[in-house]
Subunit: 403 residues, 2 copies
Amino acid sequence: MAVNLFPPENLLPVDGVRLSAVSAGIRYQGRDDLVLMELAEGSQCAAVFTKNAFCAAPVIVARDHLAVASPRYLLINSGNANAGTGEQGLQTAKATCVELAKLLDDCQAESVLPFSTGVIGEQLPLECFQNTLPSAIGALASDHWAQAAAGIMTTDTVAKAISRQVELDGGVVTITGVSKGSGMIHPNMATMLAYVATDAMAGQDTLQSLLTEVTNETFNCITVDGDTSTNDALILAATGQSGVPIAGANLVVFRQALQEVCLYLAQAIVRDGEGATKFISIDVEDAGSRDEARAVGETVALSPLVKTAMFASDPNWGRILAAIGRSPVENLDVSKVTVWLGDTLLVENGQPAASYTEEQGQQVMKRDEITVRISLGRGDTKASTWTCDFSYDYVKINAEYRS
Amino acid sequence: MAVNLFPPENLLPVDGVRLSAVSAGIRYQGRDDLVLMELAEGSQCAAVFTKNAFCAAPVIVARDHLAVASPRYLLINSGNANAGTGEQGLQTAKATCVELAKLLDDCQAESVLPFSTGVIGEQLPLECFQNTLPSAIGALASDHWAQAAAGIMTTDTVAKAISRQVELDGGVVTITGVSKGSGMIHPNMATMLAYVATDAMAGQDTLQSLLTEVTNETFNCITVDGDTSTNDALILAATGQSGVPIAGANLVVFRQALQEVCLYLAQAIVRDGEGATKFISIDVEDAGSRDEARAVGETVALSPLVKTAMFASDPNWGRILAAIGRSPVENLDVSKVTVWLGDTLLVENGQPAASYTEEQGQQVMKRDEITVRISLGRGDTKASTWTCDFSYDYVKINAEYRS
């Protein structure tokens, strides 16, 4: 029941990237749960990982491997997070890389980055990898992006992927990305995996700073339930196969396209949020700083009372005010706060707007995409936060996930 | 469906306090929704109010009145919060005090403290007060604590009240208190009202410091949904009618009894949390500071994933670890973290305990009172946080509250 999110179409291959998805029976039966992504030699990678102190085994291994070698293969399984699995889990994560490298010419284990998503606290069955890695290698092809997007899903109901092409000085470059995630979604990463590849050419430093900047305005601005995961990872790979460099004037154009891809992939996660029936944007304006705007946006977006009112299509704007009022903003002057629901003025200078009628509010709340706009009257900075509503199905999905 | 919470019994009158509860038809029909509490001349009051920047009109008026006069009457209505009601709401809150004072000899409007709880954003109907204040005054009696506890309820399902008597140097003193609250419950107050009275004798400074200390260990350690309200207030009144002073050795004994009363009233709110089926204690030990212990406790207590797992009686301890891992604690060393579910060791030194079995976890999770004990291995400070689980009924109650 994702909100205005549809299966990916017209995905474009990226020169230098081949993918495959196979059914390894790690947890799910009868669907792909193991994805392999091959990057041409000479590719550069940038990465962002979860900030959760209890990070999962594959995150530790991927970080270590990134520090010592250039990645050639990304090995991603769904169904089991290999988190909270202690020393044994760490050994298994390393072993999956070793197993893959053994099957390949000229690939060392450190050139493989492992990723896992799924249930926490169960050991990852290595034999599932041993049994299916040969067929995963055999199935590698450049037009398997849609299969990869489907293979990394857990509680997702719709696969998430998008392509963009932009004309740069030197030629056309392609960006294609996939993501997954539905619950445990919160800024600073979540049970969220995303892989974006381009055939543009860039050094690792350029890629990493681009990815960090763009992440702060996209993936770090979404929240479903405030829970961040042990496994989150976002990878940006540039194969350089187009020969078109990301530098000079190209940088601005490429950044914009990358931002569009990441925004789509991030918002897709919210649209497919566990139990979501509405897609909600909290736009905070006239803040003293971006942090302040984000803090207010996040407080409103995470309020269970706001989220249940959204689910009920109830313009219970008092809950929005109460959430703004408890946001961690020093000396908030409520007499300068103005709030709109869609285009309808709700609150003006901290007081209910004289023009507001309940009917206006209900008209907006009936929609499946709702924007709450909040002006703090403290400065000229703005930031958006995207979230979904809180429904019976959220509880159902999370109460029954393991059973 | 409150968790091990039963209607109050054996409430003791407090010399110098008379109460009444009447049906004013403010929102609810056929039940009391207006409570009047009279304090004998010479009583002292301490108060704690919401920190929400969008505080309600009665909170502003009560604060103002406390600054200029000694309170003689507390006037509390349920069904309408008089919050988000702008200048008109402020005038109405003041007018309710004026109306009451007009009906009394030797009482000025400033000696009345108004309190409201209920729906936000609707104007409070003054005529309901005008019509019923005479009968509220006529009904004042010292044995109406149970009626007062019932009259201040909103989504509460059980009235909350308790009495304690302690023998002090100089005689026996009584403490009786009532509270209400069910949703929008979070540290630093919530849609929570509590009124505690004693016939002990104390100056305002002593009372206020006692109340602040005790609040930090009781009312500020509960959370239902992370939302704090615009209306929270906690009042401690000492009538002094017993002639027994709270000073010297008496201070310690009185403080302990006050703490017990406040702990009961605070935990009662969690036990009656919206949709609650379980009462959960998060005990964080070996923290570097109390703030750190509270931060971890609150992060775990507020995690929708932990709360839905509790509802499902699912020992999905990975979610507890993930919540600890994202707590705002600098440089958390996960290899020093140990976690128990009840008496069952779950995680030892950051790794799943070898002795743990799923059956053990399920035994604990079946109970309706569950303790999660977390040792951080960073110091010797501890703190508890109390919360409830997250059920279908939480969503139902909050999605349908206004309809």
